[in-house]
């Protein structure tokens, strides 16, 4: 993997860590407010949900490694190597096409959310829902990258 790609990935990972750590801290604040100070905070629940959406969708787009995904491997593993490659290439192609197909409509949905805000903190729902679009972009980019790698391997 080229140096720039490695750096991008490290940056993506760092953002996942920041989001997850913030989520955890928000929870600790919520629990301490309730149990230690007997003063439940109205905003922690909402912020936790927003951070949860960001953590999981961002990490799915940027940090999850290919081999970590839940897949159905049984049929693939029974195939000869030549067929396996064809299966992988078709899979990446199908996924990138479906991602591209879903992107414009998803962007429209998320942009329409600029008008709505979250009930307590007043965060525009655009910022809450944005990571879904980032996930789709991540999926398309990663499938394209995987296809590129397969092409390089086929040439050598």
């Amino acid at each position: 993997m080229s140096g720039m790609l490695a750096r991008l990935r490290a940056l993506g990972d760092a953002w996942s860590v920041v989001l997850f750590a913030t989520l955890f801290v928000v929870f600790i604040v919520q629990i301490s407010a309730r149990f230690l100070f007997d003063q439940p905070l109205p905003w922690t629940d909402e912020l936790a949900v927003v951070l949860y959406l960001w953590v999981v969708l961002w990490a799915a787009a940027a940090s999850v490694r290919e081999r970590e995904h839940v897949r159905f491997d049984l049929i693939h593993d029974l195939m000869p190597e030549s067929l396996r490659r064809a299966v992988r290439i078709l899979g990446h192609l199908a996924l990138s096409l479906l991602g591209l197909l879903a992107l414009p409509a998803s962007w429209d949905y998320v942009s329409a959310m600029r008008q709505e805000t979250s009930p307590v903190l007043g965060i525009p729902m655009f910022w809450v829902d944005l990571p879904f679009v980032l996930l789709l972009i991540g999926i398309v980019m990663r499938s394209a990258h995987a296809l590129w790698l397969e092409a390089l391997e086929a040439r050598s």
């Binding site: 750590a21 953590v55 940090s63 049984l74 299966v87």
Partner: protein, 430 residues
């Protein structure tokens, strides 16, 4: 009902899954294809998934339980429990195998994932067994794999949180309902180990000198307090399950960091990153299932299935036995999260129509799915243990059947006798 796009939806789903597309993304992809083919707005995919996640507050417990388990594994907590259990059952024949089961029971009271159990305490005991003559690698692997299934049955439990989300059953009641079945699984596995240990003359552990007993017990005391706090908190209603997850993670962080000094900042960074990734992998499947269930509901599939099941006049017991058989077979081939999120929602209308208690149904189904984690060819626990230790999967499967029989016996027992699951939550409600 438009059968044409729906047929194409099923075809595209199966095609994507066979093409090795990650299952969550395959569900999202085929859902998008369905929306396109039936002339609906493709933005519905974003809407269904985002609203589903945004409105599922209980799901927040999942990343926190994952974080808690990762912190415990990084922070020598498993080692301490291992030493403590050695005091209790080490002198039995096949002592290391008995220790492993007991450690799993205690670890189950702090973590909600079978895979975390195999990767943490399981790895410690398997290494000890492999270093000793007398324990064949396949046997060592089989014990660890079988005992890890207890993890999500004794609370807390990630699959129970997910089941609560799809069924509307109370997480607290589900957690309490898992206690007796989990302990039964441990007893059944210990009996199986005892029989094998006598027949093969497996070694006993040399007892720790009496003078160290107090020290070892003290070393384990702080970790052992966590299950008590968690269960007590959930049982008394002081914490919600989500808060319990955060308390567990905080407890583990304090022990691993300032108290035991087993975790530095770099270690914490990696624990957080691993937890974010594992949470993302599970949530992708959940997100896909939201869209899949939208399609199934739009096509009226659960209702049709409920009507069909009612026509079969199975009765509650017949239905439960049939479901168990079907899930055991599916569990040999499918991932358990996928089964839980795809097949269980389809069955819930039938479960309600037959008047079956949702808590009882959930615990039976989850025990069944944990057995699915150890049955080949697709058993995640087998894969994880093989990847961590190099013990061949075939060897684990060959040595594993007595444990499989033990677990199946417990499954049959709790299926036929609902009181085993429902007595504890019913009693706590008074």
């Amino acid at each position: 009902m438009s059968s044409h796009p729906f047929a194409l939806f099923l075809v595209s789903l199966i095609t994507l899954v066979v093409l090795r597309v990650p299952i969550g993304l395959a569900m999202i992809g085929s859902g998008v294809a369905y929306l396109g083919l039936s002339g609906q707005d493709l933005g519905l995919a974003a809407e269904q998934i985002l609203n589903g996640l945004y409105n599922s507050y209980v799901l927040l417990a999942v990343p926190l339980f994952i974080l808690a388990a990762n912190l415990m594994n990084a922070g020598t907590i498993s080692e301490r429990i291992f030493e403590f259990c050695g005091l209790l059952v080490g002198r039995m024949r096949g002592g290391l195998a008995q220790i492993d089961i007991l450690v799993s029971v205690i670890f189950s009271g702090m973590s909600g994932s079978a895979l975390a159990d195999a990767a943490g305490p399981g790895l410690i005991t398997i290494r000890q067994m492999l270093a000793k003559p007398g324990y064949p690698p396949g046997f060592a692997g089989a014990v660890v794999v079988a005992s890890a299934t207890i993890g999500p049955i004794i609370p807390p439990s990630i699959p129970m949180v997910i089941y609560a989300l799809i069924s509307g059953a109370s997480v607290g009641a589900l957690f309490l309902a898992g206690v007796i079945p989990g302990l039964l699984m441990a007893v059944a596995l210990m009996i199986a180990v005892q029989i094998i240990a006598i027949r093969r003359n497996l070694p006993r552990e040399t007892p720790a000198p009496r003078s160290t007993w107090l020290k070892l017990a003290r070393r384990a005391m702080l970790p052992l307090s966590l299950p008590v706090v968690l269960l007590g908190g959930i049982y008394s209603g002081a914490f919600t399950p989500t808060e319990a997850a955060a308390v567990a993670a905080l407890h583990a962080l304090i022990l691993a960091g300032p108290v035991y000094r087993a975790l530095d900042l770099r270690g914490l960074y990696h624990v957080l990153l691993d937890s974010a990734r594992s949470s993302a992998v599970i949530t992708l499947v959940i997100a896909g299932a939201f869209l899949l269930n939208y399609v199934f509901t739009a096509e009226g599939i659960p209702r049709l299935l409920a009507a069909w099941i009612e026509q079969q006049h199975l009765g509650q017991t017949g239905f439960m036995l049939l479901i168990n058989l079907a899930f055991l077979i599916l569990g040999c081939f499918l991932d358990t999260t996928v089964m839980l999120l795809v097949f269980v929602p389809m069955l819930l209308p039938a479960v309600n129509a037959l008047g079956i208690d949702l808590v009882y149904f959930g615990v039976v189904v989850i025990v069944n799915m944990m057995i699915g984690l150890v049955t080949p060819p697709f058993g995640m626990l087998l894969f994880v243990t093989h990847a961590l230790t190099g013990v061949p999967i075939r060897a684990m499967v060959r040595e594993g059947w007595p444990f499989l029989v033990a677990l199946l016996a417990v499954l049959l027992l709790i299926t036929l006798w609902p009181a085993l699951t429902l007595w504890l939550p019913g009693w706590s409600r008074g």
